[in-house]
Amino acid sequence: MKKIMINKTTKNDMITYAMVILAYIVVQLLIATGHVSSLIQGLLVPFCTYVIVAIALNLTVGILGELSLGHAGFMCVGAFSSAVFSLAFKDAIPGGLRFLLAILIGAAAAALIGFLVGIPVLRLRGDYLAIVTLAFGEIIKNIINALYLGVDGNGIHFTMKDALSLDMEEDGLMLIKGAQGVTGTPNDSNFTIGVVLILITLFIVLNFIHSRTGRAVMSIRDNRIAAESVGINVTKYKLIAFTISASLAGVAGVLYAHNLSTLNALPKNFGYNMSILILVFVVLGGIGNIRGSIIAAVLLTLLPEVLRALSDYRMLIYAIVLIAMMIFNWSPNAIFFRKRLKQRITAGRKPGKEE
């Protein structure tokens, strides 16, 4: 019985990995045979970005059971920290190694901010937590938009005023130009790297869920008081899950930043609208369902591009789908109705079996 069960979760995870790899192969074949428009090709890296953030956010929403509206902020931290690094060491470090380091730096920076944000925020509950993460996301975006950073022979300069106040030497290199952002980041991202990062993200998240730590996190989600009563350190495990989630969002940011020559912190890419868009992916794919997040992120990004006629109505459809999904999945009446239906279908068999 034990064996069967362990195999079941492992098998489930394998299907998820296989799905991603298969999708990758199919896309590569389509590109090779000239079936993918350049427009869609240009969207492949953003796809991967969305998929990674969606998985990261699902870790917070589905596994930890807390709503974060600030994940775009963590993406932003990952994007800017890594872009600044890559720009500063553009000529000093060869491409491959530099991008690897950039990913690690983006992940670490987002993890650090996630950890610092998490300490106060995770003490709060429910709605307050959501609104405070939203606030943090906006603060991060605001600060980056006001930040000027440069480096020259005298070292690193930074200011929150304007470019002139940096007081740089002629040959200095401007890294962040306030609202104009970072220009000249090397384009190190590509679809293959994106897919590899998705697989790594999946590996981390799925293994995390099925580990001792993951169980502790889910027990807090299901019943905080009971979790404490069996000796689970609530703050510690919330913080671990949140930090990992933030860090993975940072990785998505790295991928995003290295796909653009100019990186700005705009409301549409790092604002709370982005956080909400990611939330739509997570909800549509099923809260807590990692594979669902991937499918939803791809479908919802792809559909409007394929059906151009729909693109005007895209956001409207997202909104309606979001509301309908929530009511269908979470309304006490709908849950009761589904339970009854299931019982009727499985009548005769033992009731209540998982799945």
């Binding site: 929403v61 059971g65 807390e66 709503l67 509206l69 106060p120 925020v121 003490r123 709060l124 429910g126 709605d127 307050y128 959501a130 609104i131 405070v132 939203l134 606030a135 943090f136 906006e138 603060i139 605001n142 600060i143 938009n145 006001a146 929150m160 306030g178 609202a179 008081i225 709370y272 909400i276 939330l279 739509v280 909800v283 005007d312 109505y313 956001m315 409207l316 997202y318 909104a319 309606i320 979001l322 509301i323 929530m326 009511i327 999945n329 979470w330 309304s331 006490p332 009446n333 709908a334």
Partner: protein, 293 residues
């Protein structure tokens, strides 16, 4: 003198926040849910006035009444269709749904009215107050907003304390189950709460757009979030708290814009939310609730 001017501008902004926060705090206090879409109801209220005044040439007062009716209907519909089915579901589900409603309203407005900024005509027909030979100008809309705030605050307090339906609201906010057992129509009471909150949103929309006359589908979003910050600051569920929180937040935002950095003023406002929640999570005038084991 410029400090006083900034202060007055802050009060002007804050009085709008206060008005929005009153709606937030009513709904949060009674239905125990964060109606994320409140800010967007305000935006819709603004558009209704814009269409009726600029498009149809109606008298502003009639337009405001139409807008209030429209928002009331909208609020009640949202409650009935989106929120009521989720009563008793996890707060997370309710909040996500509210975000969905907010998103929906923005995108409906985007499709109907377009993304271009509409120049809203000030509907407050009084001249501005000029002091010290015009060195200090207090906009009439500011004065009207503060007065409207006070009227609504007093009105709401009386309504909640003195009327039967108001007392029903208090009962529902304390314990839905017990209220139901006492014969209170819980769904009806919450619907009334949404109706009141949304008609306040219409007024807030008109005054917001009169003070800051640029109307887009996203007009309500940021003020809505900041008004929630104000409501939390003042103590969520508390009517005077919403007023005080709103004014303080507006003043802080304007002063930080003037003296620290206009880029960072939002960051400062949000930092206040975080500090308040960490130091005194119940806000300035809120009550403490303990979880039962």
């Amino acid at each position: 003198m410029s400090f006083v001017a900034h202060l007055i501008n802050g009060i002007s902004l804050g009085s709008v926040y206060a008005l929005i926060a009153l709606g937030y705090t009513m709904v949060y206090g009674i239905a125990k849910m964060l109606n994320f879409a409140h800010g967007d109801v305000i935006m819709i209220g603004g558009y209704v006035v814009f269409v009726t005044v600029s498009g149809m040439g109606l008298n502003p007062l009639a337009a405001i009444i139409i807008s209030m009716a429209a928002c009331t209907l909208l609020g009640v519909t949202i409650e009935r269709v989106a929120y009521r089915p989720l009563r008793g579901a996890s707060p997370l589900a309710v909040l996500i749904t509210a975000i969905g409603v907010s998103y929906l309203l923005q995108n409906v407005a985007l499709l109907v009215f377009g993304s271009d900024t509409k120049a809203f005509t000030n509907v407050v027909p009084f001249p501005n107050l000029e002091l010290f030979d015009g060195q200090l100008v207090i906009k009439s809309v500011t004065i009207v907003t503060v007065i409207v705030n006070i009227i609504i605050m007093v009105g709401l307090t009386l309504f909640v304390k003195k009327t039967k339906i108001g007392r029903a609201m208090t009962a529902v906010s304390e314990d839905k189950g017990a209220a139901q057992l006492m014969g209170i129509n819980v769904n009806g009471t919450i619907a009334v709460t949404f109706a009141i909150g949304s008609s306040l949103a219409a007024i807030a929309g008109v005054l917001l757009c009169s003070a800051y006359p640029a109307l887009t589908p996203y007009t309500g979003s940021m003020p809505g979030i900041k008004a929630f910050v104000a409501a939390v600051f003042g103590g969520i569920g508390s009517i005077p708290g919403a007023f005080i929180g709103g004014i303080l937040l507006g003043v802080i935002e304007n002063l930080s814009k003037a003296y620290i950095s206009s880029q960072l003023s939002d960051a400062i406002v949000f930092s206040i939310l975080i500090i308040v929640l960490l130091v005194k999570p119940t806000g300035l005038l809120g009550k403490k609730i303990q979880e039962k084991v």
